[in-house]
Amino acid sequence: MTAPDTLPPELAELGELLREDPPRPDPAWARELDARAAAGFHRPPRRSPWKALRRHRRALIPAVSFACVALLVVGLSTADLSGDESASSGGGGATSAESAGSGAESAGSAGSAGRAAPMMAPAPGGGSAASDGRDRRAQERSAALILAARPREVDRVAAGVLRVTDDAGGFVASSTVAGGNRSEAGGSFELRIPAARLDRALAALSRLAKVRQRSQSSRDITAQTVSARERLREARREREGLLRALADATTLNETEAVKARLRSVNGRIAAARASVRRVVNRAAYANVSVELVAEHGGAAGVGGDGRWTPGDALRDAGRVLEVAAGIAVIVLALLVPLALLAGLGLLAARMLGHRRRERALDMA
């Protein structure tokens, strides 16, 4: 013990009295505490979560690694690795998988909202199908797709376009394809697809290659259909009347005159039938325009000639590192403020605890 050498003698004397007479513990309690101390203050150890984690670190390492890899994969898949500016600006950079995932029912899902027309636009004049007394409204539907593929894959995609058209029960109105590994490889197709299978066919086409642009439109042709059928009915009624007149004709002149009118009416009937057939076909088959373009620089870093060169590999590696660094920055941006908040909270809790203790001393 250190002597209170800084105190004046009269206070030091008090200190001596205090030192001579400190409160002493009860011997029984002291023995008990000695025994507890000798036993190492034994009590069931509290399980620290960190210790528990440390115990299972062997199992945790793969889990943490998997989480990191999953994070990286998610980051890479959400990032556009192609670096193809035209793809991202032209059609939203949607991949075929995305198009398929979004479902064929959503109109213009791969194209930008501004470009894509609604798939089932309301007919001019509005109203529901039954509001004007017609059971069904006739719609003429059309769609346009721009697909991008590596030059060496143009032939495969072109074959896929034909296959999808056949599967849908449609036909190719016209097509041009330039295949091979040339940079000008590509093609264009004018397809007629049954309107009832258009959505499914578009989804299948979108899966063939990267969709750069996709748009759909529909036009109400109910009035034209009704008009063509009405003209056909009128011509038939007129012919029935002429046939009755022919039966009633008594003179040769009357007969010839009626026959001449019948020929004219028959011609109008044929024209009306063709008109009805045309308008029905317009409603039954959708026009689908597919443009297939070669993608230079390749989605997976493939060169214009279709080969994956060391330069492409370096570029891809740089891009992967770039994305990984981006993910790390995002994670840090989340963790740093959280750590700061936690630190401030801990500091505040300690300060509060200290103040409460001191206040308890003052209030005692």
Binding site: L18, G40, R356, L361, A364
Partner: protein
């Protein structure tokens, strides 16, 4: 109880000898706590709790933050103040049995007079504010020097000396008022 809680290293500071610390400080910690709380039962519990906490924290003992006794009394102080917060009440210090130790060689009259003086000092101490009681208990019951006192209270050494002087002056005045 493990006497040494850290493996000795040639370069680092000496490991904390908890066994020696416990043996040397058990009664001092109790004296400090009972002076602060003025409740023997609570003081026993708090003292035991303080040693238990110290035992569990021994591995995190930092030599750079004062000596082992200052560290131990810091823990005891926290435990005592936590007890004060919990109870929000005080109990009167039970009278200690008269201790005849330390009176060897003195006459019976001198010893009796000394015992009366000690009783007066003890009673005066019990009437002081808690902060003053704490300072005096740390200094004269626990035997801390001013540097250790400062480490326990979280103040500078000179401030600790000044506070102690004021507390002792108050005690002197209280003793004089009683006589």
């Amino acid at each position: 109880m493990s006497a040494t809680l850290e493996p000795p290293t040639s370069a680092g500071p000496a490991p904390l000898d908890f066994d020696a610390l416990y043996r040397g400080a058990r009664d001092d910690v109790y004296a400090y706590v009972v002076t602060l709380l003025r409740d023997r039962g609570a003081a026993e519990d708090v003292t035991a709790q303080a040693f238990e906490r110290a035992f569990r924290k021994a591995r995190s003992y930092d030599h750079g933050k004062g000596g082992p006794r200052a560290w131990l009394f810091g823990i005891a102080r926290h435990a005592a103040l936590d007890e004060l917060r919990r109870r929000k009440r005080t109990a009167t210090l039970a009278a200690d049995p008269e201790d005849a130790s330390g009176m060897g060689g003195r006459s019976v009259e001198d010893a009796a007079e000394r015992a009366v003086e000690r009783a007066a000092v003890r009673a005066a101490l019990a009437g002081l504010p808690p902060r003053d009681r704490e300072l005096i208990a740390l200094k004269f019951h626990a035997g801390l020097d001013n540097a250790e006192l400062a480490a326990v209270l979280g103040v500078s050494v000179s401030n600790a000396g000044t506070q102690l002087h004021r507390a002792m002056t108050k005690l002197r005045r209280a003793v004089d008022d009683r006589s």
